[in-house]
């Protein structure tokens, strides 16, 4: 029983440490015991409002393969701001969307971090993701294509 209380105290200490230092993950190995704690990305408040996402210009169609198929009319989701692209809500979550994911206007497709604020970027169209054009941590400029989408 005493051990359990010790454990709890230790966990509480670690939690305080994490919050104080704004950590999202901590793993402590002591002898043959291991404590792993995770918390959601805390430092960056998630904002849902984006002023005027510039909608999609008509994308260059995906190059036709050797099969000679007619190029598809794809559209692009472009960045409405300047910042850093993240495909997933946190480093070890699944990405918001992948090729094949269906999106509608309000689907959050990615995050763009600007000035320490995480901005949720919405698809603003109905369709299926064909290609993800940016990598996590990549700097993006205004108007930069983020995804190619096959519109419904």
């Amino acid at each position: 029983m005493a051990d359990k209380r010790e454990d709890l105290k230790r966990v509480k200490e670690l939690i305080d440490l994490m919050i104080k230092n704004d950590l999202v993950e901590i793993e402590v190995v002591e002898g043959d015991s291991k404590i792993l704690l995770k918390r959601p990305q805390a430092m960056a408040p998630v904002v849902t409002q984006i002023p005027m996402a510039p909608v999609t210009g008509l994308a260059a169609a995906a190059p036709a393969g050797p099969r000679g198929a007619e190029p598809e009319k794809l559209q692009e989701i472009n960045s409405p701001i300047v910042g850093t692209f993240y495909a997933a809500p946190s480093p070890d979550s699944k990405p918001y969307v992948r090729p094949g994911s269906h999106v509608d206007e309000d689907t959050v497709v990615c995050l763009i971090e600007a000035m320490k604020v995480m901005n949720e970027i919405k698809a603003q169209m109905n369709g299926t993701i064909v290609e993800v054009l940016c990598k996590a941590g990549q700097a993006v400029e205004f108007g930069q294509p983020l995804f190619r989408v096959r519109p419904d």
């Binding site: 510039p54 701001i81 300047v82 910042g83 850093t84 600007a114 000035m115 400029e141 205004f142």
Partner: protein, 446 residues
């Protein structure tokens, strides 16, 4: 010294700053709007980041996007150029908070001198003559009438938060004062989000003379002599020159020293221009300080041999102004003509469009500062100035002859420009004698 700077501006001044950076071995990052994406100068930068669509509010005035660009490009400093955010103290503060050096004055000094009423106060305490006027903001029309009668008509009503010749109204008597006051108030609210007004005596037929100053972070301040910017149309400068042709050495020295006293009183750092009006008796009166590098800075560069943009960068990086005032020597005469995409025949209506032919002049003593080239488009979203033509010769007559020759060689097609208007001014007998005042264009050129 900085290794990487972001240029929060566009066009000719962005190119000017890119050049200074590259000569100093600094990487230049430029932001651009979608309207400027095909401009050649963008390609000269080491990195270019699109920050928005054409309208300035969504691009060159958009602080979050510019700061984001500075962060992703990992720059150490931002040069704001002139116009846009160059005199925005809030922007300077945000740069400071984000750990990015702002190449200009500290926000406090910018505010002190940017508020025209406060600047007049500082001028008075620095023993700099000011245009007789209100000691503080004018509360209402009744106070305006009292002050106007104390100073004596005619008076000019100005916006405390204004500048650049905007938001000003002249009144010749109590009756017109009421209307002028209301109109000035409304214009100030609209243009500067601040309706505070002050009143000055309206000097008829003044000359506009300004002094270029630099101050470093170690409280050294130096002047680089004066520029005469009397040739203006609707308070927008068109032709500038250095030296002022009618100043004697004693007045010149007094004027330049007065400018320095004011800058030091304000604890200012980096480049500034102190503007004065000169009356027919050669008395000078302080009107305002521009807390930024100015469009016409090349005129001073040509007569003193100093690169003002490089100095701005060096000062911001903490370098001292390792010069003595007597080392700054003034040689010859320099003139600048602003070439605007405007049609003088149609009341200077702006002429945006795509440039199909662009052949700038050359030859000894000729400098052209422009971002323009064939195939680029003059956008309706921005200022109509597209080039600056600067000449430097030993004497004023030679400088005028060279400027006229260069203006005639300059081909910009198919849009209309102010080249013919500049030629007309330079050929006018009053300009040649320099018997001019700020009403010259309106009165004499019609």
């Amino acid at each position: 010294m900085f290794s990487r700077i972001l240029i929060a501006n566009r066009g000719e001044i962005a190119l000017r700053i890119i050049r200074a950076c590259h000569e100093l071995g600094i990487e230049a990052v430029v932001v651009f709007s979608q309207a400027d994406k095909d401009a050649e100068y963008v390609r000269l930068a080491d990195e270019a980041i699109c920050i928005g669509p054409a309208p300035a509010a969504q691009s060159y005035l958009n602080i979050p996007r510019i700061i984001s660009a500075a962060e992703i490009a990992d720059v150490e400093a931002i040069h704001p150029g002139y116009g846009f955010l160059a005199e925005n103290a809030h922007f300077a503060e945000i740069c400071r908070e984000c750990g990015i050096a702002f190449i200009g004055p500290p926000p406090e000094a910018m505010r002190r001198l940017g508020d025209k009423v406060c600047a007049r106060e500082l001028a008075r305490s620095a023993r700099v003559p000011v245009v007789p006027g209100s000691d503080s903001e004018i509360a209402d029309e009744n106070e305006a009438v009292k002050v106007a009668n104390k100073i004596g008509y005619p008076v000019i009503i100005k916006a405390a938060a204004g500048g650049g010749g905007r938001g000003m109204r002249v009144a010749h008597n109590d009756i017109s004062l009421h209307g002028a006051f209301a109109a000035a108030r409304a214009e100030a609210e609209a243009a500067f989000k601040n309706g505070s007004l002050y009143i000055e005596k309206y000097l008829s037929q003044p000359r506009h003379v300004e002094v270029q100053v630099l101050a470093d972070k170690m409280s050294n301040a130096l002047h680089f002599y004066e520029r005469d910017c009397t040739i203006q149309r609707r308070h927008q400068k068109l032709i500038e020159e250095s030296p002022c042709p009618v100043l004697d050495e004693a007045t010149r020295e007094e004027l330049c020293k007065a400018a320095l006293r004011l800058i030091q009183q304000a604890e200012y750092v980096n480049a500034a221009t102190v503007e004065f009006l000169l009356d027919r008796d050669k008395n000078f009166y302080f009107i305002e300080v521009n807390t930024r590098i100015q469009v016409e800075h090349p005129v001073t560069e040509m007569v003193t041999g100093h690169d003002l943009i490089k100095w701005q960068i060096k000062i911001a990086a903490g370098h001292p102004l390792d010069l003595r005032q007597k080392d700054i020597v003034h040689s010859g005469v320099a003139l600048e003509c602003r070439i605007n995409a405007e049609d003088p025949q149609r009341n200077f209506a702006p002429c945006p469009g795509t440039i199909t032919r662009f052949i700038p002049p050359g030859g000894m003593g000729v400098r052209v500062d422009t971002h323009l080239h064939e195939g680029c488009t003059v956008s309706p979203h921005y200022d109509s100035m597209i080039a600056k033509l600067i000449v430097h010769q030993k004497t004023r007559d030679e400088a005028i002859a060279t400027m006229k020759r260069a203006l005639r060689e300059f081909r910009i097609e198919p849009i209309k420009t102010t080249i013919p208007a500049c030629l007309a001014i330079l050929s006018h007998h009053l300009y040649i004698k320099s018997d001019i005042d700020t009403t010259f264009i309106e009165q004499k050129l019609g």
